[in-house]
Subunit: 149 residues, 3 copies
Amino acid sequence: MDAQSVLSLDNPIFRLYANYGAAVTLKMMCLSLYVSRIRITRKVFANLEDASGKQKYVRNDDDIERGLRCHRNDLENVIPFLVLGLMYVTIGLSVFAATWHFRVFVASRFFHTVAYLTPLPQPCRALSFVIGLVANISMGVQVLMNGTF
Amino acid sequence: MDAQSVLSLDNPIFRLYANYGAAVTLKMMCLSLYVSRIRITRKVFANLEDASGKQKYVRNDDDIERGLRCHRNDLENVIPFLVLGLMYVTIGLSVFAATWHFRVFVASRFFHTVAYLTPLPQPCRALSFVIGLVANISMGVQVLMNGTF
Amino acid sequence: MDAQSVLSLDNPIFRLYANYGAAVTLKMMCLSLYVSRIRITRKVFANLEDASGKQKYVRNDDDIERGLRCHRNDLENVIPFLVLGLMYVTIGLSVFAATWHFRVFVASRFFHTVAYLTPLPQPCRALSFVIGLVANISMGVQVLMNGTF
């Protein structure tokens, strides 16, 4: 494969990146809907205009705080994956290595969400967080090792 | 157009992506300045060193909390747009479909910010949020439908 | 260099982008570890299942709040850099201009983290924030000036 088509669907590694990346991004966005659903069913709002002007519905809720922490953890980890993954595609390593980096990361984040929202007893969530972080750092270090500053 | 130039300004869809993406990203960053301006004019700080060491200025403010929630909602929605949009460019659909996905998303987010900060009565903000989310999910699903796992 | 290879390591500007981008992304992810370390050593947790079920360890801590604010500020600035930087690579300006945009931004964010966590007296942190923001806005505006809507 010639260098020009690295970031296109002709490159099987980019194709994998696009698929796994889109799947984990859609998963992340579903957390918005999860939190919204709790807000509406339990009448727990952050803004006065959402609560039909009733101050008593502007309050906190443990499950909503948990959902927001889960979403924030996703932002802190999934977005670096999406960026580092794209750079990782360009350094042109084997399809095998790329596939397993993407699979392990995406599986760890799906499990992380389940572990956070259920919640499962620790160290389920901690382990899934660390596995995703290691996959990210591995990709980042490989990009840096191909680098010139 | 040949496959190699998918992610370059030779591709009109990528050009649209870059323009709309840069516009909505700059809009998102302006929320930092909006919050900073309120912090300085009202002397409401999050860190002791920002408040010239005066503990009484380390406090909360409703409008700042509102600005932070608006900014966070942008992070949760605009960044997935930027990533899914890039992938969406590579699957090479029509310029027409891409233009309208980008236009609708970016317009919905500009309106969302206005609706959040004014604030406009609901369901203005809820509607603009849902419209942006639908555009994102539409792009994400189309990427996945082109996929192999 | 022909247009097709804009987003590949054959393009020295993309190579710089990948290196600086990976470095600042890895730095950002280290903030997760920084906060986790404080949580474990001081027994300050956000979730009951992390605290071995002991409610007294589910509490707040000033240094953790500071770390979370620092991380959030990184998300609000580093991620726009990664996106705008990628678009900026495609408009094909000089290696010199690109190098200094990337260097200034990345240096400002490393300094910002040090200034936030030490904490250094203001205006150290404010200046580093503004320098990074100016680099981002400069890239964003140059992308927009190459644009068609």
